[in-house]
Symmetry: C2
Subunit: 351 residues, 2 copies
């Protein structure tokens, strides 16, 4: 789901005999590595460097692509994180027929990089792998997601809604703003976790006699292999990880599609919450211009927004964003986050 | 806070030279041990056994009282839990001048005892300490809390609102029902955690530009020693324990007392949520009778209900319960949970 395009490109380039960064095939300016450091895996893509800013072919040729384990040192420890990082870079370079000396720049997008010290530490790991002239950039995953929708340009707003949610944006002067993204305790109700937690709450309320009956009860109980709503308490206490809760979003969507009013309200509220996060960022940055009608991109990323179901949360959010800002252009990225990271590196190197 | 009465009784009995279970001082029928196994400590009280059910002096004489560490094996492990249990029992008996052979019954109230296997395990630990004729009862802490307000009688409803919240009740036939108590993921919004999490959410929303400004921002930031609402995200991620979050309830109350509308709404909503939990239990058990006006006790326990502030959450909950059920008698227990456990044991032994 995260990489609908690059494999195709890769295969095409390999079939053409392309893929090596040589003067013959036009990649004489070297290559760029883009990395996406996700919660469970790390993706690295190798693309040719196009030195003239946002002037490059679409789709961008992918010379190599590799996947390794998680590179978040908070999750897997420093040694494992560094090993995965070196492995995924090395594999992507081998696939592309390039070596370290061809690399012009590297950009890694990773969640939880908010403190300069975190950023510096990971930047230094990557610098250790390459010759000293290679430019290294480590960015918050939201910034990389924005770049994946704007083809590398840091302007506009990105809304990510997967297990968690965050809205992040930049104006033309590089000023940034964010909204949400604080996790469940701080009320990210539009996230996958938030939607599923509301659904579980509705089941318990119906069971207690505190709320109306809902189709969610039988649907969720069946999906979890439980025999009664009472068992939900034990189920949540057994492992309260956010992703495990968020995995129930498809059940909420299917109940809403089947006409369950409680589920429908949960999804409508989530869509409104997400749209308001975008609104807060847009207003703080003035992206909509003085009269509120200026055009700007809103990149929409994550399983909650891009599930493509009949009850389409992403469309509902877009509709609400456009009600606030008629000039907002909602975009679903055509490339995966690792390519966004590569585009961002290209942008940084050209500017 | 949890033991406003028993120390006084204990001192008085000791000063009187009383405290030993002998025929001379009227405790010839032996003694009862009541234990409250809390999250951080365990309290054990030793009281005289009065064999005629609910016929005993008020206040009940406390012959001995001891405090030890946590006896929840899920928190501290089995060995430490058993050691604390033996220690606290032994100290309470020594204080009372009794020994194991004087004990008629033991009742332990403990949170998280919902499965028969858990209950049996702890019952067996206690049985190992005593001769085989001693009756041992292990009960959910909600049941013991109810007994602390009804002087041992299992009839009516108890509402506990501390870090978490739960409503629990029994009808005259021993049929039981509960509402809430599922933890934060399942929407216990009337709990201390729920109140504080709503307050933190309001601070973040105001800071993001998604919600109205509130006095909670400066109050909470100051209380936590932070310099900006941005730092709240790091603060919650650093340790998301429920009790740490719930400790912010006094700040919400003080803001509401100072006229902050957001804080006031959070507390009103919490009070309504708590009252609805009681309503659900009362209706399922039919405690209010067919015409809805029958008299029944509602025991109110926990820091959220009994904080005695100017903005009195407990009073607000009582008012709402009485709006639903004019016959509901709200009671704040005069004895601590360990005494409730002892009264419960007395009830079980007499019936």
């Amino acid at each position: 789901m995260r990489n609908p395009h690059s494999n195709g490109n890769l295969r095409k380039l390999q079939a053409d005999g392309g893929g090596e960064a040589t003067e013959e095939n036009g990649f004489a300016d070297g290559v760029i590595l883009g990395l996406d450091g996700g919660a469970t895996s790390t993706v690295c893509v190798c693309v040719p460097f196009f030195p003239f800013g946002n002037c490059f072919p679409e789709p961008l040729p992918i010379l190599g692509r590799a996947v390794a384990g998680c590179t978040n040192r908070n999750s897997v420890g420093e040694t494992a994180a560094r090993d995965s990082l070196e492995q995924v870079i090395s594999e992507a370079l081998v696939q592309s027929g390039s070596d370290k000396s061809d690399v012009r720049g590297v950009c890694l997008g990773v969640s939880g990089v908010n403190h300069p010290s975190d950023q510096e530490k990971i930047e230094n790991w990557i610098r250790d792998i390459f010759p000293s002239h290679v430019k290294v950039f480590v960015q918050n995953d939201a910034i990389v997601a924005l770049a994946s929708g704007t083809m590398g340009k840091l302007h506009g707003c990105v809304l990510i809604a997967g297990t968690g949610c965050i809205a992040y944006g930049f104006d033309e002067d590089g000023k940034e703003a964010r909204a949400s993204g604080g996790g469940p305790i701080l009320g990210d109700w539009g996230s996958g976790y938030g939607i599923a937690a509301q659904a579980l709450t509705a089941v318990i309320r119906a069971h207690d006699g505190r709320g109306p009956q809902t189709m969610l009860t039988s649907t969720i109980i069946k999906a979890l292999g439980l025999s009664s709503p009472d068992e939900l308490i034990g189920w949540t206490y057994a492992d309260p990880s956010w992703a495990r809760i968020a995995a129930l979003v498809p059940q909420v969507v299917s109940c809403a599609e089947a006409g369950d009013e409680i589920s429908d309200k949960i999804l409508v509220d989530a869509a409104e919450d997400l749209a308001r996060s975008v609104k807060a960022v847009v207003q703080r940055l003035g992206l909509c211009g003085e009269d509120g009608t200026a055009s700007f991109p809103v990149v929409m990323v994550g399983g909650v927004l891009n599930a493509n179901q009949k009850w389409d949360i992403g469309k509902e959010v877009s509709k609400r964003i456009n009600r606030y800002f008629p000039g907002a252009q909602t975009i679903i990225p055509k490339v995966e986050p690792a390519v966004g990271a590569a585009l961002l590196a290209m942008n940084f190197l050209s500017s």
